[in-house]
């Protein structure tokens, strides 16, 4: 099994396939009145000459095509481009408000959804016809747009995709147009990946596509849309960038009806909330059409509107119900005709993850004279569409604590092209046939308001937006400055005051108090934080505690982390758990020691903290008292830690750096927060606190192992790159470095549970700490030179050489590669180039047994077959042969004797 899904390895046998990456202008956005965009002034194609890369430009559209996605991405990053600065925005001035009417502003974004997986779009352009495969909806609208873009016939455009309900446009439409332009320029199939850059950026640039202001009297009578700015339907960006957009592409009556119903029904719901009136009653009061009133009544009865949804008592879920009604006049404009729709939706909102589920949807429709009365529609396909299109758009930038589902990066099934067939009939509109979708967005917005009290005045309702809105609502109002000052002083005193109150014990929360999504998120936080590594004794039960930690101040033992009320954390309320995690104070008010890295855990976000609590409380409870700590006086006086915290603990939450990328911030959040990487990799001062400044991440000795430097001071002979850091963290092995051993092995095993993007984010963040490049073509040459230099036998090391020949060479001498040969050259191993021999000696004594780390391999322990003298000889030989440029290690004998003690105990 290969845990890396490699975007460079296409899952297709089509050799003609190329990979495209587009470059957007530095400034581009759709304002309600105009498309604002930098103009392309100059492209320096020469800069990429001879690299097998094709640069495609068309107006302000720029794309790079290469033989692999990675090569295209790299070339795109290096392509020199000059852009103009766009004119100032044309800000739409709002009309002055002159009366006392109620007013609300709504927005409709240009992109409502992302596009289903797999997240690749492949386009092939043959003989004037286009074939597209990927998460692209086969709609007549998109075909018309692509035909306009390519100046081709819509009948010659074939899309391998289902016809989709027309709720709103999706990001894959932009990718489809990009791929189409690139494929036409290349004359061969081109694959484009739905990466957040640029497609989530596109969604952001198009977020203000349409703005609507509604006003009405306080009782909701006589309401109207005052102000209607912008675009109903926003065609793919490529059309805007190439300047090939025509006016008729912007018309979309279905979308207009959907948007109009959204603002009308949201507004009426706001009026009902303000009046304290039942939303259905208010609508019944408003609807003059008897058939419409009849339909709404019938749907409300079917949905049992007056009976609240069942609450199963989950602490992290809130529930709500919403209603929306629309009456779309028929083309004749006859008042008694047209399509009436009434929908009622139930939602479940996860307040921790921001995830929204449509737990129920009841929808009815009456087409009046134009069609049959359908008091109940089959709502399950509608529900799927709503969930996919309204509830899943990633936001840019995502919050640093967002946990992504592992992305499926596989290419769609793709066979070598045949010319697209001529098609007479457009694809059948599978879902939208006969079903008017107008109330779809309003009904979810109103249900969300009922559940959370937050009014969403624009779709979509993605987890990130929902969570941000919930957090915003929970935040207390702005404080006056003196009040803030007084609080700060009180906070200081509270920190310094050595005796903290206990937090009342609670009954152990039921294991099903939290929803499965929250618990799963908590599991990932626990894996990222490696809770179980410290809270599990050697060979003991997971999270039962009892693992000893030798510190300069004495021996500490980890404690029982299972929800046992007496010996674990079963009677800890969330408040108590959070205080322990952020401030290092136990439930009973005792100070905890910073061997428990609350100094890092303070950076964990509120949502992740909740989720972690949910996860731990859902685990089986096991009674196991922790062994008594064995600390020397005065370190056994816990209240001393109050002063320590004042000096060394910064309990402030993690703040993303807005000048850095979302990936960097995600990496920083994982690394500095739950991951607590600095707890081992940063040396500590006399008081056991992590040092700052240049010493940060400069490497330290922990539990008899050296945690190497994660800065430019790294002693790796071949040098790290972001790519090799990712491989190391993901598989436990990097070709040019070595394998994860010692206390790093369980860290890698934990990371294996995390989505690939998270591990990439950590690698990216570490790479910036090391000033390491993304990749380095010279790395393998450098590595080969280091390995070649180690072939020569050192002089005067014959004793060690004999030990090596007997004990090590069978696997470590790369004569003939066998299945059990070591895959990494010793000459490239950072440990042999370090200033200390500790990790080399540890590996010889204890071997390498990295369970759960696929790439680490296995090496037997030699503690019981090699004497101290033999190990010293061997270590000196290894140093002389594999790190010939370094000075010999000193006091190896003493270190061997010291480190052997713990191996002898086993």
């Amino acid at each position: 099994m290969n845990p890396i899904s490699d975007a460079q390895a296409p899952d297709t046998d089509n050799d003609a396939l190329r990979y495209g990456v587009v470059i957007r202008p530095p400034v581009y956005r759709l304002d309600a009145r105009a498309f604002v965009c930098s103009q392309l002034l100059h492209v320096d194609r020469e800069a990429l000459a001879g690299e097998g890369v094709t640069v495609v430009t068309d107006g302000n559209f720029v794309g790079v095509v290469a033989a692999s996605h990675e090569a295209a991405r790299r070339a795109a990053a290096r392509l020199p481009l000059r852009w103009s600065t766009p004119d100032r925005d044309h800000k739409g001035a709002r009309p002055a408000v002159t009366d006392a009417r109620l007013r609300r502003d709504y927005q409709w974004p240009g992109r409502l959804a992302w596009g289903a997986e797999p997240d690749w779009v492949i386009a092939d352009f043959i003989d004037g016809g286009l074939r597209l495969a990927g998460p692209v909806a086969n709609t007549e609208r998109l075909r018309g747009e692509l035909a306009c873009l390519l100046e081709s016939d819509p009948q010659r455009i074939h899309i391998d995709g289902d016809a989709e309900a027309g709720l709103g446009r999706q990001g894959s439409d932009d990718a489809a147009a990009d791929a189409a332009l690139l494929a036409r320029a290349l004359g061969r199939p081109v694959a484009v990946r739905l990466d957040p850059d640029p497609y989530a950026r596109d969604a952001e640039a198009l977020a203000r596509a349409r703005r609507l202001r509604v006003s009405g009297t306080a009782d909701g009578d006589d309401f109207r849309v005052d102000d209607d700015l912008g675009y109903v339907s926003v065609p793919p960006l490529a059309l805007w960038l190439t300047g090939r957009l025509t006016d008729n592409l912007l018309r979309d009556p279905d979308a207009a009806a959907l948007q109009f119903t959204f603002v009308q029904e949201s507004f009426l719901d706001e009026v009902a909330a303000a009046l304290g009136e039942d939303p259905v009653a208010l609508r019944l009061r408003h609807i003059k059409d008897p058939r419409g009133r009849q339909l709404l009544k019938s749907v409300a009865d079917q949905a049992a509107w007056d009976t609240p949804a069942e609450d199963d008592g989950r602490a992290d879920l809130v529930r709500g119900r919403g209603v929306a009604y629309s009456h779309r006049p028929s083309e004749s404009g006859d008042a008694g005709s047209g399509t009436r729709s009434a929908w009622i939706a139930d939602v479940e909102v996860n307040t921790v993850t921001g995830g929204v589920r449509l737990s129920r949807l009841v929808a009815g429709q009456d087409a009046g004279a134009d069609g049959p009365l359908r008091p109940l529609l089959d709502a399950s396909p509608l529900r799927d569409t709503l969930e996919r299109k309204l509830l899943g758009l990633p936001s840019t930038p995502p919050p640093a604590d967002q946990w992504a589902a592992p992305a499926d990066r596989k290419l769609p099934a793709w066979r070598p092209s045949t010319p697209p067939a001529h098609r007479d009939a457009p694809g059948t509109p599978a879902l939208s046939e006969g079903v008017d979708l107008s109330p779809a967005v309003a009904v979810v917005a109103n249900a969300l308001y009922d559940a959370t009290g937050v009014r969403f005045r624009s779709p979509p309702f993605s987890p990130a937006r929902v969570r941000a809105a919930l957090e915003e609502r929970a935040r207390p109002g702005k404080r006056r400055w003196w009040w803030a000052g007084a609080l700060a002083v009180t906070g200081l005193l509270a920190t310094l005051w050595p005796f903290r109150p206990s937090i009342a014990p609670v009954a152990r929360p039921a294991a099903n108090l939290y929803s499965a999504e929250t618990i799963e998120r908590g599991r990932l936080v626990a894996e990222a934080g490696d809770c179980a590594v410290c809270h599990t004794a050697e060979g003991g039960t997971v999270n039962l505690g009892g693992r000893p930690f030798e510190t300069p101040f004495g021996t500490l033992y980890s404690t029982n982390l299972t929800p046992d009320p007496d010996t674990g954390i079963g009677n800890w309320s969330f408040a108590a758990f959070e205080r322990a995690m952020r401030e290092g104070i136990g439930r009973d008010g005792r100070h905890l020691y910073p061997a428990f890295p609350y100094t890092d855990f303070a950076k964990i976000s509120d949502a992740d903290m909740q989720a972690l609590y949910a996860y731990l409380m859902a685990q089986p409870a096991v009674a196991a008292p922790a062994p008594q700590n064995d600390l020397r006086f005065p370190f056994n006086i816990r209240s001393m830690m109050a002063g320590w915290n004042l000096l060394f603990h910064d309990p402030s939450p993690f703040k993303p750096d807005p000048t850095r990328s979302a990936q960097w911030n995600r990496g920083a959040y994982l690394f500095e927060g739950a991951g607590h990487c600095g707890a081992c990799h940063t040396p500590r001062n006399l008081f056991g606190a992590e040092k700052g400044g240049d010493a940060r991440l400069s490497g330290a000795l922990v539990d008899g192992w050296e945690a190497p430097a994660l800065t430019a001071a790294s002693r790796s002979p071949a040098g790290w790159t972001e790519q090799s850091l990712f491989e190391y963290l993901r598989t436990g092995r990097s070709e040019a470095h070595g394998v994860a051993g010692g206390p790093m092995a369980p860290v890698v095993a934990g990371l294996a549970e995390l989505p690939e993007d998270d591990v990439r984010a950590i690698a990216h963040y570490v790479a910036t700490q090391m000033d390491a490049p993304l990749s380095d073509p010279a790395q393998s040459e450098r590595a080969a030179a280091v390995v070649a230099a180690s072939r020569a036998e050192p002089v005067g090391q014959e004793a060690g050489q004999r030990v090596f020949e007997g004990a090590c060479a069978a696997c470590h001498e790369n004569g003939t590669a066998t299945f059990t040969s070591a895959k990494q050259a010793l000459a490239l191993n950072t440990n042999l180039h370090s200033q200390r021999p500790d990790n080399v000696i540890q590996s010889i004594l204890g071997g390498v047994h990295a369970e759960g780390v696929a790439g680490a391999g296995e090496m037997p322990a030699f503690a019981h077959s090699l004497s101290d003298r033999q190990i010293v000889d061997l270590v000196q030989y290894l140093r002389a042969r594999f790190a010939p440029g370094e000075t010999p290690w000193k006091e190896v004998g003493k270190t061997v004797a010291d480190l052997r003690r713990e191996h002898d105990q086993q």
Partner: protein, 163 residues
């Protein structure tokens, strides 16, 4: 308590009950009664425990079984097809390449692994492949002759003085 693991040994899919960290050699000899691979040093140094994993030589005393569930394991017992020996085994008989015979499993399996990767190796490659497969009786010349014969090379560096 250990769960059942599934191993493919000599073409057969077998369930064994062992902790994932158990060395493959122990499972082969103790659970599956395949005594072709021998216990020598237990530290991957001598090669007496050699088996093939996916056709490549592997020291089974240092391989945790838990990592091998997706691989094909072949022991000395699985080399021939019941009636006929593997050509490597024939060559060792022909050259009488044994004294006590304890190391022979390692020698034969190592040569088989080499020939799987390179059907026509040089004499130097044969020597390098056998470099860390140890014989304590001093039968190296006969073993090397057998290995070379199996590899289609002249069995001995000196002139053929056979018979």
């Amino acid at each position: 308590m250990s769960d059942a693991l599934h191993l493919t040994v000599n073409g057969e899919r077998l369930a064994v009950s062992a902790a994932p960290s158990t060395p493959l050699l122990y499972v082969l000899r103790n659970d599956l009664c395949l005594n072709g691979p021998k216990f020598g040093c237990g530290l991957g140094e001598c090669g007496a425990c050699m088996v093939l994993v996916d056709g490549r030589a592997a020291r089974s005393c240092v391989l945790p079984v838990g990592t091998l569930t997706e691989h094909e394991i072949t022991t000395l017992e699985g080399l021939g097809d019941g009636d006929r020996l593997d050509p490597v085994q024939d060559a060792f008989i022909e050259e009488q390449g044994a004294q006590c015979g304890y190391c022979l499993n390692g020698m034969i399996m190592t040569v088989r692994g080499l020939l799987n990767a390179d059907p026509a190796p040089t004499r130097e490659a044969v020597i390098a492949a056998l470099d860390h497969t140890l014989c304590r009786c001093g039968t190296h010349q006969e073993i090397l002759a057998a290995a070379c014969r199996a590899a289609g090379l002249a069995p001995s560096a000196s002139q053929g003085e056979k018979e």
